[in-house]
């Protein structure tokens, strides 16, 4: 092995170690993670859009989100109940609070209260929707 190769190997190692440390330090979500705030549910029954009730929201203080549910034809879904979950996949823990759907606002819009994200990083924010068309789930990714 030539010195050049040794040098290149050492530099490659430095970059790899540095990259790994940086990755561990501020680990982003896996490449290709979809951070869209409008998504189809797992079985395609609904299209769900989420937005904080007030922008900008304070990450580590309790706040509310508005969840808008539409059916396959784009019509608002009424009389749904929504269970909320989530967590940090890289840390193996759930949400620090237990957010709940507290109001149906009409036009397929629902208020979810009691949300808090206690850390920076990649969070999953999931919703289980029960409504006359059927039960379905959707998981959003948030980068905080």
């Amino acid at each position: 092995m030539t010195r050049r190769r040794i040098l290149l190997s050492v530099l490659a190692l430095i970059i790899a170690v540095g990259g790994t440390l940086a990755f561990k330090m501020f680990r982003p979500a896996p490449t290709g993670t979809d951070f869209a705030r409008t998504r189809a549910t797992a079985n395609g029954l609904y299209t769900v859009a989420i937005a904080p009730e007030k922008e900008p929201f304070v990450r580590d203080a309790l706040h509310s989100w508005i969840v808008t549910v539409k059916n396959k034809t784009g019509s608002p879904v009424e009389k749904a109940t929504i269970d909320v979950g989530g967590g940090m996949p890289q840390h193996g823990h759930g949400l620090p609070t237990a957010p709940k759907m507290t109001a149906e606002l009409g036009q397929g819009r629902y208020r979810v209260e009691g949300v808090k994200f206690s850390m920076f990083g990649w969070w999953e924010f999931s919703f289980a929707i029960k409504a006359p068309p059927g039960n379905d789930t959707v998981v959003f990714n948030l980068k905080l």
Binding site: R3, L7, D60, H93
Partner: protein
């Protein structure tokens, strides 16, 4: 020829690398991302003290002055020898340097320091109280802390502080005709005596008792975190490192800070300017032989909801919509088994021992625990083993020592 080129390449690369590192050190010891996180940990990022809608006296200076007197008054105890300040020593960061608190008896947990706690939503290691005033009531009736009972306490106030109390809170009426040791949570005799009181007497006692807590809490809100060397470093770093000498960090302290932000994953829980995320984590803390089983947060979830002195209770001044932390608190017993609140790390190096039952005598022992990440005695530890060299461990301790004035 190849050898010559390679040698030159090695030399020039090494010189460039060293220059780059030195240049980086001269300009900024931290990356942009690290700098951004440091800014969130500095005291300058501390928001204004949040209001406590459950306590209308929270920011009343006269009530706070009354609370300060109560905080140091040993007459609020069974043996006349214990005050809040017995364990929360003002000259010792409002803690007592002992593994387990010693008052009327010996407790099962370490005394927590108080600076800055008013910013948090939950109180005690397990967060079994949702307000500072409700927290203050717990030790007063705990048999190994003050060992008193709410009825005796309100009579003590009526005897020694009636005028002050009535000026601040209104008349003390509807008390029982004679002083009696009575409480719904005390000894069997105290519970029987409580049952014998009229509903109006019980309400009057509970209201007086709650006001004792509200006064002590108003005092507690005045105990704020101090500026530390780390904060001075962070402030000067944010201004491009034109630092006064006393804000400069040594290379070891910088290395420790980087580990704290990075490989150590410390900021997963010790985040924000108080260096706590105010939530509950199982970090595999060892059980202490001789103490009763301790399930942490999981075992207090029901009690929080049933507490008559919680945010939704009759003695709270809040409306239900102001009780979000209580209404939306996690009930996940599995995740919360042996989960405890991360204490603020501000001034941590000068107040050993560490953890909820004083399990570790030194910061070295704390770091050894986090590096080895042992299985939790119950529940599931969030820790993962860390590969920390002796140098890394010393650097982390050096950084933690910068969290002092």
């Amino acid at each position: 020829m190849m050898l010559k080129v390679s040698t030159a390449l090695v030399r020039s690369s090494m010189v460039a690398l060293v220059a780059l590192m030195m240049g980086a050190c001269d300009r900024s010891p931290l990356t942009t991302e690290e700098s951004a996180v440091v800014a969130t940990l500095a005291l300058g990022a501390l928001p204004a003290l949040p209001s406590d809608p459950s306590n209308i006296y929270a920011d009343n200076k006269d009530v706070a002055a009354f609370g300060k007197k109560l905080f140091g008054d040993t007459r609020l105890s069974l043996n006349g020898k214990v005050a809040c300040a017995t364990c929360h020593l003002p000259e010792r960061q409002f803690q007592d340097d002992k593994p387990l608190a010693v008052a009327v008896g010996t407790g099962v947990r370490r005394t927590m320091p108080l600076a800055g706690v008013a910013w948090g939503p939950w109180f005690f290691w397990d967060g079994r109280k949702d307000s500072q005033w409700s927290q203050a009531l717990g030790p007063l009736e705990d048999q190994v802390e003050h060992g008193s009972d709410r009825t005796t306490l309100v009579f003590t106030i009526a005897t020694h502080y009636r005028q002050t109390y009535e000026t601040l809170f209104g008349p003390l009426t509807d008390l029982p005709a004679v002083a009696v040791a009575a409480s719904p949570v005390g000894t069997i005799a105290a519970r029987r005596a409580w049952d014998a009181l009229t509903p109006a007497e019980r309400t009057a006692i509970n209201r007086g008792f709650a006001n004792i807590g509200k006064a002590i809490a108003a005092h507690g809100r005045t105990l704020k975190p101090e500026m530390t060397r780390f904060d001075r470093f962070a402030a000067s770093h944010a201004q491009g490192n034109s630092a006064p000498d006393n804000a400069r960090f040594t290379q070891q302290e910088i290395a420790g800070l980087k580990l704290f932000l990075g490989k150590g994953s410390c900021t997963n829980c010790h985040s924000g300017p108080r260096l706590t995320d105010d939530h509950f984590h199982n970090t595999g803390m060892p059980a202490v032989p001789g103490l009763p089983p301790d399930g942490g947060r999981a075992t207090v979830l029901k009690a929080i909801g049933a507490d008559p002195f919680n945010c939704l209770g009759a003695f709270s001044d809040a409306t239900p919509d102001q009780c979000g932390e209580l209404r939306f608190m996690s009930q996940d017993r599995h995740a919360l088994t042996r989960a405890y609140k991360p204490p603020s790390l501000r001034r941590v190096s000068s107040r050993p021992p560490y953890m909820h039952a004083g399990q570790f005598p030194t910061l070295d022992a704390v770091i050894a625990h986090y590096a080895s990440a042992p299985r939790a005695p119950a529940g599931h530890s969030e820790l993962k083993p860390l590969d920390l060299s002796d140098q890394d461990r010393q650097a982390l301790v050096a950084f933690l020592k910068t969290l002092e004035p």
